[in-house]
């Protein structure tokens, strides 16, 4: 063809990627730009979490009491184990990613394909685990009362110190509730759903059961939540205004509502990164299969998505520490 562009060799050397600044290609440098700025975004999130936590130092929820579930072990108190497992899954998928990058350097298409597949599976397991973690967090386990001041009152057995679910002691009080219907109000306005029990039912049940006491949000010098005496509990329960089951952005049965907000925002933002990482990995995986990089002559694209994938792992290391360990 006559119309082929004439290649200016000198220009190619300087601007066409021939002479690379810092011996790193354009694509890799841009990925690093993105990673550094994203790292600062995550730091902003985590530091604001730290801010709220330091501000509420003596009443912050204790992670070991919040995340206690493990698949197939119902009713077993297993803090930490599940997130530890998730951490291992993510680190392992990071390793298969480096192995894919390494195989790419040696132009081994079959190996790159295999390791990319393992990486995608690892990422998918991680996102799934996070969804399960969210499900448990949102659903809640024991339920609690919320006071007018926004404090959470949880219930424990006075003799054993074990948490008691409100469903186990609440008594049924027959009440009449007018259901809000489209025919007698604003057509788009539906009545909000009620918690399983009313405050009155929980309070009645609490008063009838002498073995119950209230666990407050406050933390004592040894790092445990303060458990009130029976008399103090009877005083406090009158301040309750709402029944809270599970957690959302407004109410949180585990304690300070900011804890739930930051949990949703930070692990959600991270989970979104993992999800997009998995999608990008799948695209690259198919590119590898159809031989795009074989024709291009190098597998640098694997290296670039690899950088992103490791970054996601790196962020999880910090989220794990600040949400579950510290």
């Amino acid at each position: 063809m006559d119309l082929t562009a004439v290649e200016n060799t000198e220009e190619t050397n300087v601007w066409g990627g021939g002479e690379r600044p810092l011996k790193s290609s354009y694509g890799k440098l841009m990925m690093w730009f993105f990673i550094v700025s994203d790292a600062l975004t995550f730091s902003g999130f985590l530091v604001s979490y730290g801010f709220s936590r330091f501000k509420n130092m003596d009443s912050w929820p204790i992670a070991d009491e919040v995340f206690t579930h493990f698949p197939f072990l119902h009713g077993v108190d297993a803090p930490m184990y599940y997130v530890a497992l998730m951490t291992f899954v993510l680190i392992f998928s990071s390793v298969t990613m480096v192995l894919a990058v390494d195989a790419g350097h040696h132009m081994q298409k079959a190996k790159v394909t295999f390791y990319m597949l393992l990486t995608i599976i690892g990422g998918a397991i991680f996102v799934g685990s996070q969804a399960w973690e969210w499900k448990n967090f949102i659903k809640g386990e024991y339920g609690a009362l919320e006071t007018k001041g926004g404090q959470i009152l949880q219930f424990v057995d006075a003799s054993t110190g074990k948490r008691i679910a409100i469903a186990d002691f609440a008594v049924e009080v027959p009440t009449k509730r007018d259901i809000h219907q489209a025919s007698n109000g604003i057509w788009y306005d539906a009545g909000s759903s009620l918690p399983s029990f009313s405050v009155e039912e929980v309070v009645k049940g609490f008063e009838a059961n002498n073995n119950l006491v209230i666990k407050s949000e406050k933390i004592d010098a040894t790092g445990h939540k303060v458990i009130l005496s029976r008399d103090e509990s009877l005083d406090q329960i009158d301040t309750a205004v709402a029944v809270v089951e599970g957690a959302n952005l407004v109410h949180n049965e585990y304690g300070n509502r900011l804890f739930a907000d930051f949990f949703f925002f930070i692990t959600g933002f991270h989970g979104f990164h993992v999800l997009s990482g998995v999608i990008i990995n799948i695209i690259i995986f198919f590119n590898v299969i159809v031989g795009t990089y074989e024709r291009r002559g190098h597998y640098e694209m694997i290296e670039k998505v690899g950088l992103y994938w490791h970054f996601v792992d790196l962020v999880w290391v910090f989220v794990f520490t600040f949400f579950y360990l510290v």
């Binding site: 790193s24 730091s43 709220s52 130092m57 930490m80 990613m97 790092g223 640098e300 792992d313």
Partner: protein, 127 residues
Amino acid sequence: MAHDAHNLAIFRGLLKFKSNQQKIWGVLIFLSIVTTVEVVLGIVKPAALMNSFLNMKILNWIFLILTIVKAYYIAWDFMHIRDEKGGLKGSIVLPLLILIPYLSFILLVEADYIFDVMFNGFMSWNF
């Protein structure tokens, strides 16, 4: 691309690997050990480590340091920063190393101050 220009020594040359793949597995084992130590400490919570040092529990200091150690090995070996030129290393790590501690410092000190104000100013935890 410089294919075989990998720096194969970790722990300041204490441990040298024969190939890049071996190094990857070596780093994985190291990261797994560190994570296992963290999880065990988090479950056991040894009483000796619950004392406070510089306003934070010794256990939390250990977690923080181990996290930074893990982050270092993920960045240096998985993200190949070890193999990059000094200028690139610096321009990636220095902004983070300066800005993040700075941000944490001002916000956490401020939060601690707000905690003191609320702690001294309020008579009741529930009102």
